[in-house]
Symmetry: C2
């Protein structure tokens, strides 16, 4: 029997995530039954929002908490089909599915995962490498695309602020708004990321939020205010946005990384009054609420990638065992672009080890 | 020369509004110039949102603060034209305009007031008394109609919670949602108002928010949650709504009476995370952002009034001098329905006295 490995949470973090709160477990990999495929995973995604499920109770309406001592279900991954007993899939196919953070997965082809966005899907890898389907052509691309164009309802002339703009989703949002001709301001948590935003992504302005107070930094970057705020951070960032938004401004609330680890609900923005007086709209969303946009997003985003107009830097960590450390590093703000784990091929190791 | 009276603020309130912060001033009333009409005001509106302008600086994006020791401009009123030098208006016409809290007003016919909703307009008083144009057929009707149908985007089957449901706007929203066949929950600040909501407006459930904790009261009234929250209160009410809203729920933020008097920005809702995880939309608005809906609203609301399906209780205070006390009483939560000042006819007084 093939022996696989999977990462399991063994304790819910208090505050910062630590690698010691996870364990790498060896398990026997069963043969696929009719309707299933056996996949060897090659890349697996590391997402800030996983933090929301690493707690006794996930926020209402979100995907459920990860049970302790069990494999984590609902993490996007790509891999290669080793054996298929499901129609439409064959050995050698590159696929995505939602059984990540393990090296082998037996996946039921018809099973809807992550609101449909994680259902087993054959990928076209002729124009982009497989791992691009975890980022720009996958969930992050969908989140950016749906959030900017549909949730925020981007309009001609809008000035756009993106927080965590060097992150997996933020960097795509910022570039998409630039491609459409908008003035785009990005913020991030280090000078190095700010350089990336200005020099590589070509944003109109960018600032390190640790180098001053947010309302001042934002006023300097956007003296006449903003029309759209794409929120990945929440807290003081959202509050600053409410202050800077012009009449009929819109906030697409994608994430609130500043609040993911909070044990108690934090104080919300104290200046909601402008939401009334300026006629603002704040709208929360998940990419998986917009699965119907997936084909449109892949077509449009794929074209931008091929034309060299949309880039996504990757922070790659080697080895499945490093996934928890990669998540901890992402949540600390150490990573730029998409954080990925390249899964070591356990078969080589077995062969090498004997 | 005719002597008129007007109410002027002489100090900005700290916390609760007191009548002593206003003064009734006698002024000479000038003759209308070409393009102007002279109006004797008969009814003037008392609105909670006036509190937002009784401060050194109004919230960003709102109408400007009322300057001290000057007449208050931008308060809806109805009256009778005494003399017209403007095309389309004749002596005896009933009109509305935005120069309230005084007994005589010289109004420029073309002047856009209150975002267009307060511009001098001739009223049809054949089917409703003049003061109805300050409530159900006027700004309150527009706010209720635009907020419920356009901002909240009411959909079939939505369960609706309206706070301050016995108020001028809330009572209209609650009835409009009932007319459209929705399950409607109303909240208010006294048992007497709750009785009004249940017995006169026929709501499905109602509660006095002072008789428990909001999340519990709301859970009891709407065990399966709500889809739309029409917010007149802000603060803990908005927070409770975010907890109770179901996936894709919507909040129309019309007012935040709980925060109008705040000197410092209060803490906002601590549970904005569900806005993301449940895909909620929160949208602030003013009726005057939706002036284009005025004809549609008057047609629809007028029909409901004629059919006897839409009621608006009035809290009437007699005498212009009582306007500040009426505002204070409204802000304390003492009034039900629309608060109005019936202006004493100064001419009778002069005749009687002189």
């Amino acid at each position: 029997m093939t022996i696989g490995r999977e990462v399991r949470p063994i304790a819910y973090p208090r505050g910062e995530v630590r690698a010691s709160e996870f364990r790498l477990v060896e398990v026997g990999v069963r043969q696929p039954r009719p309707g299933e495929v056996l996949v060897r995973n090659t890349w697996t995604s590391v997402d800030a929002a996983l933090r929301l499920r690493l707690r006794e109770k996930a926020p209402p309406g979100y995907f459920p908490a990860f049970p302790l001592e069990e494999p984590m279900d609902g993490i996007m991954t790509v891999g290669e089909v080793l054996e298929s007993r499901a129609e439409g899939f064959a050995r050698g196919d590159t696929v995505w599915h939602a059984s990540g953070w393990r090296d082998y997965a037996v996946v039921e082809a018809e099973r809807q995962a992550l609101g449909g966005v994680g259902t087993l899907t054959k990928l076209d890898v002729s124009t982009a490498p497989p791992q691009a389907h975890l980022g720009v052509l996958g969930g992050n691309g969908l989140t950016a695309y749906a959030g900017l164009f549909h949730v925020a309802g981007l309009r001609d002339g809008d000035v756009v602020w993106v927080s965590a703009a060097a992150g997996a989703v933020g960097s795509l949002v910022a570039q998409m708004a630039k491609i459409r001709g908008h003035r785009v301001i990005g913020s991030a948590g280090s000078d190095e990321k700010v350089r990336y935003l200005l020099e590589e992504l070509g944003l109109d302005a960018a600032f390190n939020y640790k180098r001053g107070t947010l309302p001042d930094l934002l006023r300097e970057a956007a003296p006449d205010g903003i029309d759209v705020y794409f929120d990945n951070v929440g807290g003081d960032h959202l509050e600053a946005a409410l202050g800077a938004l012009r009449r009929s401004g819109r906030v697409a609330i994608c994430g609130m990384i500043s609040e993911y680890a909070a044990e108690e609900p934090p104080n919300g923005p104290g200046n909601l009054m402008p939401a009334v007086t300026k006629g603002l709209t704040m709208r929360g969303f998940r990419g998986s609420d917009h699965t119907h946009l997936l084909p449109e997003m892949r077509r449009q985003t794929g074209a931008w990638v091929r034309e060299g107009r949309l880039h996504c830097r990757e922070t790659v960590v080697d080895g499945l065992a490093q996934a928890p450390a990669a998540l901890a590093s992402l949540l600390r703000g150490d990573n730029t672009g998409k954080t990925l784990v390249r899964i070591d091929d356990v078969r080589h190791r077995e062969n090498a080890g004997g």
